[in-house]
């Protein structure tokens, strides 16, 4: 395809995968006035929102209907067909999408919104039946059915999902053990000061925190037993085991179809894969910049949404939306945590609240903010977003002063 010839807008778009990224692609196409055929193909059917799966939905405080990304009649009103099938293969050259039930559909553009699947532990017993993972609504339903007061819950992995489930399980009254090989998880996401405070919350809420690499899981009459590589650490009995050690991006459809894949489906900044008919969005997509640098996959809610918006614009041949610094949130033990930008770059400026770190900002050598994270931030991270996106250089003394609302510095 020559760069000199503008691409024609495709008459049909098949979106494979109905997570937030796939849904947002469809929504953005329609919001842009696109009148072609839009189909979302996902064995789970109607798209739903995943963040509550480890929080309110798992706790039984939200029901399945509340997980909907839009009211149920949105799909008919916007002529977006949802096909509840699993896709077996795609043929990019012809645009044919083959489903597991033998049906097929053909589209001029294909969007791969395949997401990821929970990584399993490569240890003895790592494939035992009954181990829980948490990615889908069905996973959450299964786990929810097992959480009850007094149940012994062992969570392997203290990242975002593991920590959120620990908090939810404590709330339900479970006895929780949390195992992770990393002494202080999430330092790259929120900086070491906040990561320390957040991780300490587990023990403050009665969770047994174990620093160790899980070495085996067994199951007997007394339930499960988890061990770590440290033989002196003891064994950890449990009624329920959740493995929350990250995801593996679902790239097989892409690699089988001949697209470039490297721990993610490789896309350009417009979310285009190496085939001109195919885009990829969300957790499974990985951006390769024009100079060949592979970016880290950013497995967060807002990133998924943004990638869908970008893909829709790209499919329609429109200017790509300009997105600023990437944002994420998490909740634990009644605290809301947000981070924006890059918490591994620059130098830290830390705010404290009653002697405890409440926010950390990362500043480049020239004083420009590149990242911010905060616990119960109010509008602090929103203000940081503005400061980062607009390149506002703020006074470092005021930045470190918790009594100065960041909002004042952002204007």
């Amino acid at each position: 395809m020559s760069d000199a010839v503008p691409a024609r807008v495709p008459e049909s778009v098949a979106i494979i995968g109905g997570g937030l990224a796939g849904f947002t692609t469809a929504q953005s196409l329609r919001a842009s006035g696109y009148t072609g055929t839009v189909t979302i193909i996902d064995p789970e059917g109607t798209p739903y929102d995943r963040p509550p799966l480890s929080k309110d939905y798992l706790a039984g405080k939200a029901d399945a209907e509340q997980l909907g990304l839009v009211p149920a009649d949105w799909y008919a009103e916007n002529a977006v067909e949802v096909v509840p099938h699993r896709v077996d293969s795609i043929d990019p050259d012809s645009g044919i999408v083959r489903c597991a039930d033998g049906s097929r559909t053909q589209a001029e553009a294909i969007v791969l919104a395949l997401g990821g699947r929970p990584r399993m532990l490569p240890v003895p017993g790592g494939d035992l039946p009954g181990l829980h993972v948490l990615r889908t609504r069905a996973d959450a339903d299964a786990l929810r059915g097992e959480l009850a007061a007094g149940r012994r819950v062992c969570i392997i992995g203290a990242g975002l999902i593991g920590a959120e489930v620990a908090s939810t399980a404590v709330d339900v009254g479970c006895e929780v053990t949390l195992i992770d090989p990393v002494k202080i998880p999430l330092t790259a996401a929120v900086g070491v000061e906040l990561a320390n405070r957040l991780h300490a919350m587990h023990e403050e809420h009665g969770v047994q925190v174990v620093e160790g690499m899980t070495s085996s899981i067994t199951h007997g009459e007394e339930g499960y037993v988890v061990t770590t590589e440290d033989p002196t650490a003891g064994e950890f009995p449990a009624d329920v085991v959740l493995v929350a050690v990250g995801i593996v991006p679902n790239t097989e459809l892409a690699s089988t179809a001949g697209l470039d894949v490297d721990n993610g489906i490789l896309v350009d900044p417009a979310q285009k894969t190496t085939h001109p008919r195919v885009w990829a969005v969300g957790d499974a997509a990985r951006i390769r910049t024009a100079d060949g640098i592979l970016l880290r996959r950013h497995e967060h809610w807002e990133s998924a949404m943004r990638s869908g918006e970008t893909a829709a614009a790209s499919i329609l041949g429109r200017d790509l939306p300009r997105h600023g610094a990437a944002w994420m949130w998490t909740d634990r033990y009644g605290h809301h945590v947000e981070a924006i930008g890059d918490m591994t770059a620059g130098e830290p400026v830390v705010r404290t609240d009653n002697g405890r770190p409440s926010a950390e900002f990362r500043l480049d050598a020239d004083g420009t903010m590149v990242g911010a994270a905060a616990i119960d931030p109010g509008t602090t991270i929103r203000a940081a977003r503005r400061i980062i996106d607009r390149g506002i250089v703020v006074d470092q003394v005021q930045l470190a002063d918790s009594s100065v609302p960041l909002k004042k510095l952002a204007r």
Partner: protein, 119 residues
């Protein structure tokens, strides 16, 4: 719909800030946020339609308020939900400036609001 009530005096609400009028005070049973931005007053139901959060604590900019928890934006003029994760609009309430007094008409939607009265 309840009787209009005086909720503040001009100058009480800083630029791009809001006050909350509790539900038992405004008579609707739900807290109402009264915003001041770009020399205008706006009132919306205070609770985000997506999750439990006070919009009065949100980020006000360009005739929109952004929820402080999950960043859903609502149009201050119409109550429309502008982006995910919110999809349901919030109720608007008419605000009137009488001299230097700010009067709220709880339950009276503004003209052009997405949600009409008693919807």
């Amino acid at each position: 719909m309840t009787e209009p009530i005086k909720v503040a005096t001009v100058g009480d609400i800083d630029d791009d800030e809001a006050i909350v009028v509790p539900g038992d005070v405004n008579g609707t049973g739900n807290p109402i946020a009264v915003f001041f931005t770009e020399d205008e007053y706006y009132a919306l139901d205070d609770t985000c339609t997506h999750a439990e959060a006070s919009l009065a604590d949100g980020w006000v900019e360009g005739c929109e308020v952004e929820c402080p928890i999950h960043a859903a934006k609502f149009n201050l003029c119409t109550g429309q939900a502008m982006n995910l994760p919110a999809t349901i609009p919030v109720r608007t309430h008419k605000v009137e400036v009488r001299g230097d007094e700010i009067w709220l008409h709880p339950g009276v939607p503004v003209e052009g609001a997405v949600l009409e009265a008693d919807q």
